[in-house]
């Protein structure tokens, strides 16, 4: 009886161990893959031509001078990759303080695209617009990793309008022409 038990045990052990020896497994190699995704800040403004404003006679005597054109949208296009928690802001600035009697406004439409394209700001001196002086002002903030698209009319539209500033209109004088340069900048948010 004992001999049968020992015999059966040996056969069972043999049966259990055989696959191990018949199908040896070796974990012998490993290779590391490291992917570094760097910060990306690519930004462009689609202005095809400069915007020219003409200040001319009003439609009727007694009204404020007429400014044309009313404003044509251009587009901001950007590709941003940032670390988790980081944000970018787009600012606009003008190289010269606006002449008395005039107010230039820059504002952005709602950004579209993939990812965290940001939020257009309503603020400045007028609701929904941003007054551009010689200091930079935010026009789109809370931008995180995103791509707005690079087609002709993709990305947030930006509008530039020139209006009469009634508060300083009394000091307005005629001038042949003046050039103002608007600069858009993408910065790291604090």
């Amino acid at each position: 009886m004992t001999e049968r038990i020992i015999r059966a045990s040996c056969l069972l052990l043999l049966l259990l161990l055989s696959p191990f020896f018949l199908s040896a497994q070796v974990d012998g190699g490993d290779s590391t893959t490291t992917i570094t995704i760097n910060d990306v800040s690519l930004f462009q403004h689609t202005t095809a031509t400069d915007v020219s404003f003409v200040i001319d006679d009003p439609a009727s005597p007694g009204e404020l001078p007429l400014i044309t054109p009313a404003g044509t949208p251009t587009y901001l296009q950007y590709t941003v990759v940032v670390a988790t928690g980081a944000e970018k802001t787009i600012q606009a600035s003008c190289d010269t303080t606006m002449r008395d009697g005039l107010r230039m406004n820059i504002w952005a439409g709602a950004p579209t695209g993939t990812g965290g394209v940001g939020t257009a700001l309503a603020g400045g001196l007028e609701v929904g617009t941003t007054y551009v002086a010689d200091t930079a002002v935010d026009i789109i903030d809370t931008i995180t990793s995103c791509a707005t698209g690079s087609g002709g009319t993709q990305g947030p539209a930006v509008f530039c309008t020139l209006t009469i500033d009634e508060s300083t209109f009394a000091n307005m004088v005629t001038v042949a022409s003046e050039v103002y340069t608007i600069t858009y900048t993408m910065i790291d948010s604090p």
Binding site: A24, S31, T34, I37, Q44, V81, T84, G115, A147, G149
Partner: protein, 160 residues
């Protein structure tokens, strides 16, 4: 009587012991840096979604098989240190290497790696300098800037 069965057991196991001597060795790793130069369509466009390593980025040797007819199978899996769920890492065997044995599979489509072992290719006998190419796909701007790392583990199984 008991000693006879122990002897019999050792005798029966001994012929199979050399099968476990199979070895695998590997060289090569892959480091990739993605930056603004990978936005091929310019500002506003997305990052290129796919990147490939050199065809011989990783080289494998499988050896110490009993003879050229001794069959084996290679399995792979990855273990992430830091990885993004959108990123897909794939492997392709780009050469069969050299040696007395044979090799087949793994050379037509990239195998997408997961955390569990998958069959990659198989063969018989010793093979050396088996080249492997890596492919990273699924990249886009929604993946935060960071350094991601994973380790690919190769396991060779001496099959009956």
């Amino acid at each position: 009587m008991r000693a006879r069965y122990v002897f019999l057991l050792v005798l029966l196991l001994f012929p199979f012991y050399p099968l476990s001597a199979i070895t695998i060795s590997l060289s090569g790793s892959w480091s990739l840096s993605i930056d603004s130069s990978d936005v091929s369509s310019g500002a506003g466009g997305d990052l290129n979604s796919q990147y490939q390593s050199n065809a011989d980025q990783v080289s494998l040797d499988i050896g110490d098989l009993i003879d050229s007819g001794d069959a084996w199978e290679l399995q792979v899996h990855k273990e992430d240190l830091l990885w993004h769920s959108d990123m897909i890492l794939g492997l392709l065997r780009t050469s069969g290497g050299s040696g007395a044995g044979t090799i087949s599979g793994g050379d037509s489509l990239f195998l997408e790696l997961t955390a569990t072992d998958q069959y990659f290719f198989d063969g018989t006998g010793d093979r050396s300098l088996i080249d492997i190419q890596l492919r990273l796909s699924g990249i886009s701007v929604v993946i935060p800037a960071d350094t991601y790392s994973t380790t690919i583990y190769f396991t060779v199984i001496d099959t009956p």
